[in-house]
Symmetry: C2
Subunit: 627 residues, 2 copies
């Protein structure tokens, strides 16, 4: 965490000083806004939290409900989401409060008496160590609270506007605020009221029955039948021994997905209610909590469940479905206009409850879109940047749905159906990225380079998220995770992995640094606003191969020790060195001749280049930035 | 973190529901209080934070200043303090925000040109891995903020009462509130006002010039001369390469203790101004910031320091001093009456700035006193318990001062003065506990047993703090630190380390558990209030030798799976097992025949017993509890 460089911060450094539109932020929803977000679910809140970091941008997020979500909905948090929370600054707190999954147990009918279930197997949740972050379970409401706190502590002092319901929109294309949105006020003081807000951009994060989706004429396609689950969050006394372990329980009379919850007592059970035709959901919907509890007891036999308190329950019906596009640009208009309205999260795609993708994928949608809107609204990037949102996320959603189907069927296979025991291991290893949320790989585009130089950093596949690794921060000799310095601040990260020469000796990295600092072609010079800190667009870091004790920081190029803030202080948190015992060059397959790894504001690797390919680096950024 | 068991908690689980005196807590200082604390420094705030956890106890903490501390004072946080913060629930947040010391650098005059300094050595800050917690630097103000938050989130909703100055007190000995305290109101709306508050107990945490100390007639003895330092918290540009590393810098013209600070830019320098006689401090006090900066530049030569912004500066004069006793009971009255007034922190002892003890020892004073006051005020323990505070902490303070003197002189020795190279290593290892804050060992008393059975758990010396170790929580298969479950909630921890039999088999631990659950002699039965949860006084945990996968939780004695809260739910967080690769039985030298380790509410080991010594266990607790 870096602070104090604009002067001493006496109170919580997480609370940024109010700036720009945050200085006199009106409580009332204004008539004109830069971005209007509809819906305060995970997709909407992460987008709002991201946009709240930019003092020049007026973002409002409206929600039909009268206040915050209190209970229910999703609770599975993949490691990729925790990594994202780290970028927003609240990972350590949500980890402290959440349930952590380390193992999963599989229960099946006892072969000697199939009326009884018996533990069949246990499996490590993350056998391959796919992430340094844990797999968590915590209620969606708390995730939303943390994003709300990020917004409140941001320079724009953003707060959700509760009690506004999206009714419709029109993209007039006129003037500065070309989208006109009609909002109703279903409850509260202004009940029955209606408001019209004009926006530059609208984000529909209004869930599976999205009105915004409908307004821009998107269709939803996929499974015809829904899968129904009786879901309950309960406090209960039981003799089932794995009640605090995640379980897949199959019995002769049905199956349960069992999820322990935060706090040590509560748990959630998804009792499988089977497939339901889209036109015949009445009976299932009427399933009572008593029926769900009775069914759970039947499945758990010979164990019993004595429910003492029901915190929440629901019949959750969901199908694998996907919309045709994620914005308002019709296929025939692609290339002739850029989008004004976007949809994110459940509004675009819905997933089976099994793999726990819903909330997680929805947040990645918002993380993808947020910085792009900021780049365009701040005048840094052309509007064409916004077309990459639908292009990137639509493919990802399709892939995830396809993979989920394949994965679920593989997961359901019995060990005896596998050809050899190693197959199970291979399967786990090769698919471990999916449940952890790391399978996404974006295809080449204006934001993602071709993998021409991919061999220079095999552990950083272009289009995948930058996987952190341990290094030493040279200035203070702290062992740190290189990736954790990447905050959700809209900045690009450019990592220079040095060639083998020490600082002060002639080297490719020294030449590269000099070019970056002085060349009129340098993206640092061309794309950084004149009055801004030199690291305000590109955060350039160097990683040396030397052990930190053999490294003289006084001889490191000044590119990596930039002067920032009103006092022009030296930023010492850009110079790193490999840890001999866990060498990042080996862990990530980085060429000892050095390499440049470019990472987008949403943490995805955009390019890998040799230190000598300065023209190529300059050319990569040129179309992304207008100035 | 355990919650939800009294019903679903929708918002931040760190915020406890208001209860007892917190339900309608008056904003105004009441005329009668259980405990009146004077001073909101670290010593006072930790005591307040501890007492705030008890809904039946009215505690108020008054402070002369009109509001929170904003800047300056101490900043060194030993690992023991971070461990304590963990017990109060904010370790992970303060770690995220603080500077972390991993190495220290030593600079000396260059032998070839003694006018120039040169790096002479680097040393690991914690070479022996003394704690799983880091050594931090963060401003005292932030530590106080976190304690204030703990108080605000507690059932009693406690807040400091700013703007009240302690003027005097009288121990009348009459009635329920035998201490009469006079407070002035030096500033604010009621400027010039005076208030009289009657209290059951008074805690003087009012710093080095304590008025409470004076009121109870304590004397302060120790070094006659003060050591003076020019201290500055500054933002500066420099070419000194170790500016982000803690350094001891010795030059021909003086010396500096250099401390990088939180946030990545700020640092503190202690410029040594030498010894000052107590009666001749005028000149030193007038040292200006310009003089301090000039001196720093002289010392750093050939490096330079260009100070851009001074956040805080002071001339800090301090001597090793210690008061004769920590409460109002005169030596001649010991045993005839129990204390009503206590002093803590700098009011009792002051330390050289070098070892950074001040804030840390002060917090341990408060942690020692807080739970004892709570035990007595809740009617659990006899008033004689309160005499152990002065007895324990006075000796500790004396030992720390003695050790600090010895340590400082050893630290100052040149390598060439040591007999053999291994001596330095031995010295580091044997003294590593001191700077980390783990050297304290209480002597036998009503609270600390004789080490009769010490051989059963050599890694848990009686009288020292319980050193955590990794274990697996069986119910959810999470690897956790056993000690981190110990929160600052006033409860005792009783750890049963099992003999080698598995749960369900005949074993010493099973017999012990049955005795504890059912015997009329059991402390659990005798000392737990009838209407309270069975773990409300003693939190009893078991650690098995088996790997968790070979352990059937269904067969664990119900003593370790108690039913708690209004729904009588099972608490699953009391059953642990050793991790094969880092076995707690080996790490802490625990006898394979099992052992019982009793830990006090302030985390100090009180007793170690065989599983069979049930009479002895019962007898140990009898004098501590009145019922
Ligand atoms: C009732 C319910 C139960 C669920 N149960 C589970 C579960 O058991 N397990 C699981 O994994 N996932 C569950 N989900 C799905 C999971 O919550 C989503 O995958 C995830 O929240 C997606 O995030 P999102 O932000 O896209 O949408 P959502 O979280 O659905 O957020 C959409 C938001 O938009 C608001 N909104 C909708 N229409 C309008 C409008 N016209 N105007 C203004 N605001 C509007 C909604 O009130 C809501 O706050 C459930 C969802 C719902 C709605
Ligand atoms: C000005 C100053 C500078 C310091 N600088 C350093 C440093 O550079 N390095 C270092 O290691 N340590 C420093 N210390 C010491 C360090 O802060 C203490 O060791 C530590 O704070 C001890 O904690 P405490 O709670 O016992 O006392 P303190 O933190 O001193 O707290 C005592 C509190 O009591 C209040 N108080 C005093 N008298 C009254 C009264 N009559 N009525 C009501 N309230 C009263 C004070 O305002 C203060 O808030 C400094 C202390 C001071 C006061």
């Amino acid at each position: 965490m870096q602070f104090h460089h604009h002067g001493y911060v006496s109170t919580d450094p997480r609370i940024q000083p109010a700036a720009g539109v945050g200085i006199d932020r009106p409580d009332e929803l204004p008539a004109e806004v830069d971005v209007l977000i509809v819906g305060t679910g995970p997709a909407g809140m992460i987008t709002a939290a991201q946009l709240s970091q930019f003092p020049g941008i007026t973002t409002r997020i409206v929600e039909r409900r009268g206040g915050r979500l209190a209970i229910g909905q999703a609770d599975g948090i993949q490691a990729r989401s925790v990594e994202t929370f780290q970028a927003f600054g609240f990972a350590e707190r949500i980890i402290a409060e959440a349930y952590r999954i380390t193992e999963m147990a599989f229960w099946k009918p006892d072969p000697s008496d199939p009326s009884r279930i018996v533990r069949h197997a246990r499996a490590d949740d993350d056998p391959t160590g796919i992430s340094e972050f844990p797999h968590l379970i915590v209620n969606q409401a708390r995730v939303l609270d943390y994003f709300a706190e990020v917004m409140a502590n941001s320079p724009t002092r953003m707060k959700p506007d509760y009690g506004y319901e999206f009714r419709g929109l029109e993209v007039t294309g006129d003037g500065d605020y070309p989208v006109t949105v009609t909002l109703g006020q279903p409850a509260g003081d202004s009940e029955g009221g209606e408001r019209v807000v004009r926006a530059k951009y609208v984000v529909g994060a209004d869930g599976a029955r999205s009105g915004v989706r409908q307004a821009i004429g998107c269709t939803m396609a996929g499974d015809q039948a829904f899968h129904a689950w009786g879901v309950m969050d309960v406090l209960a006394v039981t003799d089932f021994p794995d009640i605090r372990t995640k379980c897949a329980i199959q019995s002769e009379v049905g199956s349960i997905l069992h999820i322990p919850r935060e706090g040590g007592y509560l748990f959630r059970m998804y009792v499988d209610l089977g497939e339901v035709a889209a036109d015949n959901k009445g009976a299932i919907r009427n399933t009572t909590i008593e029926e769900i509890i009775a069914k759970a007891n039947d499945i758990l036999h010979p164990y019993t469940l004595d429910v003492k308190n029901v915190a929440w329950h629901s019949v959750y019906e969901v199908a694998h479905r996907l919309t045709d596009r994620f914005d308002d640009v019709l296929p025939e208009d692609l290339g002739t206009r850029t989008p004004r309205v976007f949809i994110t999260g459940d509004a675009c795609h819905t997933h089976s409850a099994k793999a726990g993708q819903g909330m997680n994928v929805s947040m990645q949608d918002g993380f993808n879109l947020g910085w792009k809107l900021a780049h365009v609204l701040e005048g840094r990037s052309p509007e064409s940047l916004l077309s990459t949102y639908s292009a990137e996320r639509h493919v990802v959603a399709q892939n995830l749905i396809d993979f989920d189907k394949e994965w679920s069927s593989l997961m359901a296979r019995k060990p005896e159906e596998l050809k050899d025991p190693a197959e199970l291991e291979t399967f786990y290893t090769s698919t471990a990225e999916f449940p952890a949320g790391f399978m996404t790989q974006y295809s080449p585009s204006m934001l993602i380079a071709e993998a021409t130089h991919g061999a220079l950093a095999t552990g950083y596949p272009i289009g995948k998220r930058f996987k952190s690794a341990p290094v030493v921060r040279v200035s203070d000799t702290n062992p740190v995770e290189l990736g954790h310095h990447h905050r959700a601040d809209g900045r690009w990260r450019v990592y220079a992995f040095a060639d083998s020469a020490a600082p002060g000796e002639a080297s490719a990295v020294a030449e590269w640094a000099e070019w970056l600092r002085t060349s009129p072609e340098s993206p640092l010079i061309v794309h950084t606003p004149k009055d801004a800190d030199i690291d305000s667009v590109f955060d350039v870091k160097v990683v040396y191969q030397q052990d930190h004790t053999g490294l003289d920081i006084g001889r490191v190029p000044e590119t990596f020790l930039p002067r920032v803030g009103p006092f022009e202080l030296i930023d010492y948190e850009k110079v790193y060195s490999a840890i001999p015992a866990r060498n990042i060059f080996e862990l990530r397959g980085i060429d000892r001749g050095g390499a440049v790894v470019v990472v987008r504001p949403d943490q995805y690797v955009a390019n890998v280049l040799p230190l000598t390919a300065t023209d190529e680096l300059a050319a990569f950024f040129r179309p992304i930035f207008t100035a």
